[in-house]
């Protein structure tokens, strides 16, 4: 069981957390809403939940709730630039298909 954060993503997360001035890590999760079944959740964490599973990768602490974990196991969080747009990208081996825009997915 593992979730990893690429160097580039880790650098950006560290930067965002530092500028935000608070927060202990990043929450990854899935929600069961979306045009193709599931949607990712990506949030700052100020307080961990009791049942959170933690991963440390490249200096970033990632928090995942146990219900989301099966969908995200083995995933890599990356930071990418596409044209003018930049942001985080999920490389998820569990995904079978995504909707056109990639914001929601199916396993």
């Amino acid at each position: 069981m593992a979730i990893t954060v690429t160097d580039s993503a880790a650098r950006h997360v560290g930067n965002f957390l530092a500028k935000r001035g608070k927060g202990i890590g990043l929450r990854l999760g899935v929600r069961t809403t979306g045009c193709s079944g599931m949607a990712y959740k990506l949030e700052f964490v100020d307080e961990a939940q009791a049942d959170d599973v933690r991963f440390d990768s490249n200096g970033v602490t990632v928090f995942v709730d146990p219900k989301s974990l099966p969908y995200l196991d083995g995933m890599e969080l990356d930071f990418a630039r596409e044209g003018l747009n930049e942001g985080f990208k999920f490389n998820n081996p569990n995904v079978k298909n995504t909707c056109g825009c990639g914001e929601s997915f199916n396993v």
Partner: protein, 623 residues
């Protein structure tokens, strides 16, 4: 796949529901767009990494529109169709422009605002601004990867209703949903997080390319109130380039230059100025078309010497702004620097010395307004959690009111009231049987309508005929979060209504606003007396009118000749008093006339009752 941003805890959005919001600094010389992503405000750059969009629009005969650097590059070739500094024309009539001859445009006066004739037809400043906003919206949607839910657009603190409305119209034309208009100095203060800082007075020193603004803000309970503004609309970083240019010409003993060489040397001058921000000296070399070679060394010391007057020119308005706010430099808790020209060490030094403290300079002065606007947009779009939800409030710069009888101003919403706000006040009719009422909405601090600014006029018709003073007309003033006003009037018994949204026709300059405020204070006493005088005149008129009406109706029947003469003498005396300027004399005459007509009034009452009873049997009356 789509790229994601980090949300605040618990604030993740459903797919396709990202609340993308931006802050826009719509500047005179340059504009910027910024957004909060993963909790941090950043300015959105174009494909070439440039953050600024020059506020220049060029119109082509075939309907094409160029905005930004492309338009700026062609400015000297096609001056009539390339509109620069359009912000100076927003909400302005031809009369407001002073000398239109100093602009290379063909103006036409149109109701409300000038228009500029281009090869693509006549364009209003609103349309040109909308084209700049469209370019910014486009850039933002490409950078954020989706449609925007809204934007916060900044405007100078001294912008009046006409200029704010024009800015809002431009945004609507550009397909932007305006979450709010925000004062530029307030946006800069937000970017520095001053809204979460200690309460107190802050100064925002904004020296841009061609304009200088100083604003004194007061922060109380998270609300920024603009205490005063001042500035110089023809002073900016470009003037420093000009000074260096003159110095080059002088030092190199150059003969009159052609346009190309002038441009070259101005560019070199600007580069030298920018170099002096980091270094103690700058070398200036240029080969002119005449074959002359310019090779000079500009030191910090020389630069200071040749630009000292410009630096001082910014301190005079600063002093004035403080004086208008009734404050001294040491009352100021923090100084925010805005505008690229504040990078110059000599400016920072002079401002620091003036206020006796180091000004805040750690944010990019070109971007600070856009960043603050982006932070505000993020909150208004609902991307923040409840706990750190700061609702930023703004205030009305000048009081809003109505004209009442005697050309007096009845203030309905006083200045510095936080917005949004709604206030209602009841008014009544002045004459018997009056069925219509006209409302004149004015803005300003003075007591007389002629000293305030007229915003709008409208009429309420269909008031049921009643005796004077019986109708109850409720007038509601509503100012939305952008500082825009709508006024409605409703007669309470019949429910007839009339309303107007104020889109005033002419703008006020910052000087005029500052001047109006000063006048109000300087003339407080005269105003009070004039007000008292006009009030007494209104009262006198109304009494004379009522008395004459009564005399015409019942005078022959109920009064002896002597009695009638006494009342008419009282009227004459009152009229004489009203021609004078002593409100106490009028008051005395009103009281005297009231006295001499009291017996007449009593007889009329009796006669009225008798008339009502005549021809009726006692048992017909239910007593």
């Amino acid at each position: 796949m789509a790229l994601l941003q980090i949300s605040e805890p618990g604030m993740s959005t459903a797919p396709h529901q990202h609340r993308l919001a931006v802050g826009i600094d719509l500047g005179t010389t340059n504009s910027l767009v910024a957004s909060v992503q993963s909790g941090i405000a950043r300015v959105l750059d174009d494909e070439r990494g440039r953050s600024l969009v020059p506020s220049v629009v060029r119109y082509h005969a075939d309907g094409r529109v160029e905005v930004g650097y492309e338009a700026q590059a062609r400015q000297s070739e096609d001056p009539h169709n390339t509109i620069v500094s359009v912000k100076r024309f927003m909400g302005r009539g031809l009369a407001d422009l002073g000398d239109p001859g100093r602009y290379p445009y063909k103006f036409v006066d149109a109701p409300g605002m000038v228009q500029l004739i281009t090869v693509a037809g006549s364009k209003s400043p609103v349309e040109a601004s909308a084209d700049i906003l469209k370019a910014l919206r486009d850039r933002a949607e490409r950078a954020l990867g989706g449609e925007l839910v809204g934007a916060v657009i900044t405007v100078p603190a001294y912008f009046d209703d006409a200029q704010r409305q024009a800015t809002k119209d431009a945004a609507r034309l550009a397909g932007l949903n305006v979450l709010r208009l925000l004062n530029e100095p307030t946006a800069a203060a937000i970017a520095y997080g001053l809204d979460n800082a200690a309460e107190g007075v802050y100064a925002v020193y904004d020296l841009g390319g061609g304009t200088f603004d100083i604003s004194i803000l007061k922060l109380t309970r998270g609300v920024f109130e603009v205490l005063s503004t001042n500035g110089d609309s023809a002073l900016g970083g470009d003037d420093f380039d000009q000074r260096v240019f003159c110095w080059i010409v002088e030092q190199s003993h150059l003969t009159p230059l052609n346009a190309k060489d002038t441009r070259l040397l101005l560019t070199r001058a600007r580069e030298a100025k920018e170099q002096l921000t980091e270094h103690d000296e700058a070398r200036i070399t240029a080969l002119l078309s005449t074959g002359e070679l310019v090779d000079l060394n500009l030191t910090t010391a020389i630069f200071h010497e040749i630009t000292a007057t410009l630096v001082n020119k910014t301190l005079a308005p600063t002093r004035k702004a403080l004086r208008d706010a009734g404050l001294a430099p040491e009352d100021v808790k923090g100084v925010v620097m805005v505008g690229g020209a504040t990078r110059m060490p000599c400016i920072r030094h002079a401002v620091g010395e003036f206020f006796g403290q180091t000004p805040l300079t750690n944010l990019d002065p070109d971007k600070v307004v856009a960043l603050g606007a982006a932070m505000q947009a993020d909150v208004l779009a609902g991307n923040r959690t409840q706990e750190d939800d700061w609702l930023l409030l703004d205030v009305i710069p000048l009081s809003l009111g109505l004209e009442t009888m005697g050309a007096l101003v009845e203030k309905v919403i006083p200045r510095n009231t936080t917005i949004p706000v709604a206030r209602a006040q009841e008014f009544t009719t002045f004459k018997d049987g009056q069925t219509a009422m006209s409302f004149h909405v004015v803005q300003g601090e003075r007591e007389l309508v002629s000293d305030c600014r007229s915003l709008a006029k409208f009429e309420l018709r269909g008031i049921p005929p009643m005796v004077a003073g019986a109708a109850r007309i409720r007038v509601t003033f509503q100012v939305d979060a952008d500082g825009l006003l709508s006024v409605s009037a409703r007669e309470q018994t019949s429910g007839v209504e009339a309303a107007i949204t104020v889109k005033p026709s002419y703008g006020l300059s910052d000087d005029e606003i500052a001047g109006m405020l000063q006048d109000a204070n300087a003339n407080a006493e005269t105003d009070m007396k004039l007000r008292a005088l006009n009030e007494q005149r209104v009262e006198g008129n109304s009494l004379i009118e009522a008395t004459r009406a009564a005399l015409a109706q019942d005078g022959d029947e109920l009064l002896s000749l002597e009695e009638r003469a006494a009342i008419e003498a009282g009227i004459a005396e009152l009229e004489a008093g009203m021609a004078g300027a002593d409100h106490l004399a009028i008051k005395r005459a009103v009281e005297a006339l009231n006295q001499s007509t009291s017996e007449f009034a009593a007889r009329r009452m009796d006669a009225g009752v008798k008339r009502a009873l005549r021809g009726h049997k006692l048992d017909e009356l239910s007593l």
